[in-house]
């Protein structure tokens, strides 16, 4: 890369992208570059880093809305929200440490562009579900906006959804507006101890199929539970299945007791209170069990919840795989030893019956260039994807190849 543009306002982003489009010079689009090692490596002569577009521009807690420049540090936004007892309900993971970088280094634009979501995804949705409005610069070098600053809006196509999860390949975002929500007054986590994967899935399914509004359902095998900073989890001496309940005091106490009662036949249970719950769910969210195993390839596999253990079982055949579940079995975090194909052939074959998708979140650059990092699409979807890309970035100047080779 010969240089990085660091624009300080939206007009300068337009100028940079218009130049890139005119010269057909690809740009690597970055927020604060904390997730640069996520996705396929981009071949670009120049970078376009949006960290200069920083700052919260509007925060109205009682309207549940916050607007910020796209490069605003996520940590700054979370701190501002915490002052008003609010939060980003989709619980954005901090993938920095997993990717070998620092914690707390990402931007709001990066979180949205990668459509990240933590354990609360099952109840509150992903980044996409909280993304209300966007101003961006297309690969044509033209500024456009979509959405608004109100939580209910169906005026025109929802281009925020397209921006979420597009990894900077459609447009460079300059300003974003998100829905924010009150943080829970109280959090407790019910721990079920010593369940195998199948029993754990049954327990999570019962809990999520109940009226108790479970906002996190994860299962860690013994080897990974033993690494937790939370002593109850670390010293459990076996696998740990965790169910989170959040809300007002009386409600949380009632639901926790009800869950423990309804799941009593599965054996003994423990309960984590606010502080330990926060630490534990942050570990699950940020893939902490694999941060300390930096040599391994890390895959994020989204499947129908009931398929989780079967997919994990198929992958464990004859290899040294580590896995844990979030989203009630629907999200499988998988760590494999390094290999030439990264395990992608076996992984994707395991998904062919149940449906779902696998993303290589951590792996060496050469591997990420060689194997499909994101789930390969069938020809019809690939063609449609290409036409959508053409509508935003016909000259392929924004993050070319980030998601798919040649796109």
């Amino acid at each position: 890369m010969t240089g990085i543009f660091r624009p300080e306002n939206a007009a300068q982003v337009v100028e940079a992208v218009a130049w890139a489009a005119a010269e057909e010079e690809p740009l690597e689009v970055l927020g604060r570059a904390s997730k640069r090692a996520f996705g396929r490596p981009v071949q670009a002569g120049h970078g376009l880093e949006l960290s200069g577009l920083a700052g919260i521009t509007l925060y109205e807690a009682e309207e549940l809305v916050l607007s910020a420049r796209a490069g605003t540090p996520i940590a700054e936004i979370e701190a501002a929200l915490a002052e008003k007892n609010q939060e980003l309900a989709f619980e954005p993971p901090d993938l920095g440490p997993l990717l070998g970088g620092e914690a707390g280094a990402g931007s709001i634009g990066g979180v949205l562009a990668c459509n990240l979501a933590g354990p609360r995804r099952i109840k509150a949705g992903a980044a996409r579900d909280h993304f209300l409005g966007v101003s961006a610069v297309s690969g044509r070098g033209e500024a456009f906006k979509s959405g608004g600053r109100v939580v209910k809006n169906v005026t025109g196509y929802d281009l925020c959804k397209l921006m979420a999860g597009s990894y900077g390949t459609l447009a460079a975002m300059t300003d974003v507006t998100v829905k924010v929500l009150p943080a829970a007054e109280k959090t407790r986590t019910v721990l079920l101890l010593g369940l195998d994967d199948g029993k754990a899935l049954a327990a999570m399914t019962r809990a999520l199929g109940s009226a108790h509004e479970v906002s996190g359902a994860a299962h860690l095998p013994a080897a990974l539970a033993a690494d937790s900073e939370v002593s109850y989890v670390r010293e459990a001496g076996g696998a740990v299945t965790a169910l989170r309940v959040e809300g007002t005091g009386p409600s949380v106490e009632y639901r926790c007791a009800a869950l423990r009662r309804e799941l009593a036949e599965l054996g003994e249970s423990e309960e984590l209170h606010d502080r330990n719950s926060a630490v534990f769910w942050q570990e699950v969210r940020d893939v902490r069990p694999f941060v300390t195993r930096p040599e391994r390839l890390v895959w994020r596999v989204s499947v129908p919840p009931q398929a989780g253990p079967a997919v994990a079982g198929a992958l464990a055949q004859g290899q040294d795989a580590l896995a844990y579940y979030d989203w009630g079995g629907g999200l499988l975090w998988l760590a494999l030893p390094p290999s030439k194909d990264g395990g992608h052939v076996g992984l994707r074959a395991a998904l062919s019956d149940c449906g779902g998708h696998a993303t290589l979140v951590r792996g060496p650059e050469t591997l990420r260039a060689a194997v499909p990092v994101f789930q390969p699409q069938d020809p019809a979807m690939a063609a449609l994807t290409r036409r959508v890309k053409d509508g935003f970035d016909p000259r392929r100047v924004l993050n070319p190849g980030r998601m798919v080779a040649g796109l």
Binding site: G3, F5, A16, W19, A21, A22, E23, E60, A61, E62, E63, L64, Q86, R121, G125, R128, D129, R140, F144, S146, G148, V150, V151, K152, N153, V154, G156, Y157, D158, L159, L162, A164, G165, S166, P182, G209, A211, H212, T248, P250, S251, R255, A258, S302, P304, P305, Q306, L331, G355, G356, H357, F374, Q375, Q377, A380, L384, T385, V388, D390, G391
Partner: protein, 495 residues
């Protein structure tokens, strides 16, 4: 409202087109008789009427695919239709268009309690999904007021909401997967029973795309276990400001109620006269706040919100003590539209969203407009999310009054945009708000949206004349005006 000029060459081929469609969908599946087509001439926005050239009711995905491929090859426009309950004219037929009715796609394909989802054909009603799963205590959360009739496919096309969407989300937040057919007949599947399918979020894009991008043939939605209990609070305030402040204070206290509805004086009186819900008649603003969850939570929140309301100057404060009483509180709100229909020969329902704190100002200016246009207005309001439903009272039999009501409505929507809001919260743009899109979006914004349309439907055959005020050709939109120049801002830090 100007629709695209009917294509005379297509109209001249009407019988031949009907025959070709009949070859794909045999028997009763094709309607070409002018009288029989009358039932399709409008949707929920009855001010606009247009009989389609021909209507077709396919039963299989393969038929949908062949119909679209045929229309695409022949350059014939297609308007998809669910139950036809759109309030924005989204399913308004075209004189030279095929109306593609999805009513026969009315089966639930799979109920998957373990994965907490339902797979349904698009013509299943919204309430039909809840009915299919309620035996196990589950329900489908989005509940538009037309839920008895409106279809799940239409809900996806319009991204329908309902009174519970502040807490439980809109259609887009409850949708897991789709199967759809593109205009060239290609069948594609988006998502499934898992979350956040990889690739561009075309599932999110499709939701609320108003039938302009593809025809939905299968829908997978997530279902939830119904809350254990629900109670409602009825709160009356002497001013709209006080009511608005109470809404802000409830949310400021960190409480997101299951539903939070507001009515103004005119709506309160119309509803009370109609259903005798027990509403106080001496207040300017009435709030219905519903709390749902376990009893311990609901009772606690009822007490907290009662205290907040007292602080905000509530002159009426009643909590439902039984399920009958809760339903009675809601009866007036749910009957608000027909209640207004009783006091006026016609009414026109608007659907703007505003930042909530601008409510008193918007209501004041709406009252000024009401005086100026000489038309009464009643307001019901999804207070939690700022979605306003002004009902403009008029009489279509008085010459010029419909046009007057429409002008009044357009001015309300422009006001919504002016205060930082949007043209439509849940009813869609359709034909109704099409020509107002320019008040919210620039030429560049609309051009980018239409380039998305071009990726799906390059000849603009799917539901043309809806959503976009001006139709540009895709070739024109795709052109780039390049001026090669110096490297930008050389004085900017780059290294």
């Amino acid at each position: 409202m100007k629709m695209p000029e009917p294509d005379a060459t297509v109209l001249a081929r009407r019988r031949e087109i009907a025959r070709a469609l009949n070859a794909i969908v045999p028997g009763e599946g094709v309607i070409a008789d002018r009288d029989e087509l009358a039932v399709y001439e409008s949707d929920g926005l009855t001010a606009y009427r247009q009989r389609p050239m021909v209507a077709v009711l396919p039963e299989t995905v393969e038929q949908v695919s062949r119909i679209l491929a045929y229309c695409n090859a022949e350059g014939i426009k297609v308007v998809p239709r669910g139950a036809g309950t759109s309030l924005s004219g989204g399913a308004l037929p075209l004189a030279d268009g095929v109306l593609l009715c999805m009513a026969r796609f009315n089966r639930i394909l799979d109920i998957d309690f373990a994965n907490r989802c339902v797979v349904a054909q698009p013509g299943v009603t919204n309430l039909g999904i809840t009915k299919a799963v309620e035996s196990e205590g589950f329900y489908y959360a989005p509940d538009p007021s037309s839920q008895i009739a409106c279809t799940i496919g239409g809900n996806v096309a319009e991204n329908s909401g309902g009174v519970h969407c502040l807490k439980y989300g809109l259609t887009t937040n409850n949708l897991l997967g789709l199967e759809m057919v593109l205009i060239d007949g290609t069948v594609v599947r988006l998502g499934g029973r898992h979350l956040d399918a990889g690739g561009y979020d075309l599932l999110g894009l499709m939701t609320g795309s108003e039938g302009l991008l593809g025809v939905i043939t299968e829908v997978t939605v997530r279902i939830l276990q119904a809350p254990e209990t629900a109670r409602a609070l009825l709160l009356g305030f002497p001013t709209n400001e006080a009511g608005g402040n109470c809404v802000a204070a409830i949310i400021g206290a960190g409480i997101i109620p299951g539903g939070m509805e507001m009515m103004d004086r005119a709506a309160i009186h119309a509803a009370e006269d109609f259903v005798q819900a027990g509403y106080p008649l001496d207040v300017e603003s009435l709030l219905i706040v519903e709390l749902d969850g376990p009893e311990a939570e609901v009772d606690d929140l009822i007490a907290r919100i009662s205290a907040i309301a007292a602080n905000c100057g509530a002159v009426t404060s009643r909590a439902s003590e039984s399920e009958e009483e809760r339903l009675k509180f809601w009866a007036g709100r749910k009957a608000a539209f027909p209640a207004v229909g009783r006091i006026s020969p016609d009414y026109y329902c608007m659907d703007g969203t505003i930042p909530r704190h601008r409510l008193p100002e918007v209501l004041k200016r709406m009252a000024e407009m009401s005086a100026r246009y000489g038309l009464r207005v009643a307001n019901v309001f999804h207070a939690g999310d700022g979605n306003l439903h002004p009902l403009i009272l008029y009489d279509a039999n008085n010459p010029g009054e419909l046009e007057n009501a429409e002008a009044f409505g357009a001015e309300i929507l422009r006001l919504c945009v002016e205060v930082g809001g949007v043209l439509t919260g849940e009813h869609g743009v359709g034909v109704e708000k099409r020509d107002l899109m320019g008040t919210m979006f620039s030429e560049a914004d609309l051009a980018q949206q239409q380039r998305v349309k071009c990726a799906f439907d390059p000849d603009s055959l799917l539901n043309p004349g809806k959503m976009f005020p001006v139709l540009h050709r895709c070739a024109e939109l795709g052109r780039m005006h390049i001026s090669r120049g110096q490297i930008p801002f050389p004085d900017l830090p780059r290294f």
